[in-house]
Symmetry: C2
């Protein structure tokens, strides 16, 4: 097994275990076992557990960004772009439940708090299609004139619990219901 493959195994194992059991149900020894390496080996690739957790987060973020960006076109009308982004994000979560559950764990933890703070205070670059979309929409008077965080809340607020309920089998989302849900978010955001 090459060096890169081994690193990947560790990251994959961490994703799986943390997504399923939370940060505190994921001892390094368990991650090591699932990855098929010794406990000490992880520390040859990651300085400590925090670093592993943060690097995994960055990787997931990149993957989602890439997946969603693929079909995005910034010259379509605002509404169409909004619907596309919403369905794409929700679709990604449903297709990749481990990723979703990991992101949730991360966001609802001190890691996520720190990350969020950096982001809102502008310390973090964000290549964020939503921000751009909202700003344009408000300027064009197509979207309600709210602070950005409120628009984010109106959009992702409903998407995340709906994804969670689907992943946990509390509902079944088919393509039609996904679309109607995102359209309902649009109704909340549009002028």
């Amino acid at each position: 097994m090459s060096k890169a493959e081994k690193r990947d195994e560790i990251v994959r194992a961490a994703l799986e275990i943390i997504a399923e059991h939370g940060f505190h149900g994921a001892p390094m020894a368990m991650i090591a076992e699932k990855a098929g390496v010794g406990a000490g080996t992880i520390y040859r690739y990651f300085e400590n557990k925090d670093v592993l957790i943060n690097e995994l987060y960055r990787e997931l973020e990149d993957r989602i960004y890439a997946a969603v960006l693929a079909g995005y076109s910034s010259d379509k009308p605002i509404r169409e772009r909004f619907i596309y982004l919403g369905t794409a994000v929700l679709g990604y979560f449903i297709a990749n439940p481990l990723d979703f559950r990991y992101l949730e764990q991360f966001h609802n933890s001190p890691y996520g708090m720190a990350y969020r703070r950096d982001r809102i205070s502008g310390k973090k670059e964000d290549r964020d299609m939503y921000r751009e979309l909202f700003e344009e929409g408000v300027a064009q008077q197509v979207i309600k004139d709210f602070p950005l965080v409120v628009l984010f809340a109106l959009t992702f607020g409903p998407i995340l619990p709906v994804a969670r309920d689907h992943i946990l089998n509390f509902i079944v989302l088919d393509d039609d219901l996904i679309l109607r849900t995102i359209e309902a978010c649009w109704d909340g955001v549009k002028r």
Copy 2:
């Protein structure tokens, strides 16, 4: 200090520390110190930490329910009731940030998962004004015909992050912005 007072002190201390530091930043010894009792004493009032955590949750739920119910009148029109409930809940969270942070911690933890499961599968009685409101609204064709969980997501989905952002000082919500935010939720939910 009477027996009941001591119990209250413990519960209050737990609320404060867990809301601020999360379940894992809240050792029993720290809760005991803040409550002004010995560590062992807590175990005379609560069988173990899990019981304490769950009882505290129930208490908060009751308080919120009572606060919101106070001004609720189930014979007003659907929209008016929706707006009232939304602003009341959001207002409660803003006025009681510790309660809000505790509830968030709880919901995003294995405790909350179990609770949620019981609730959705109907094992738990819920004296839930929202459920009733949604069912009535759908029947009257005033509200979009979605599964209940989606309607919940469209309503609470935005309320919770907005409350969090306010409590963490990422935005300042005044009465006007609160009202407009809830109205936007209504736009998402109404037909």
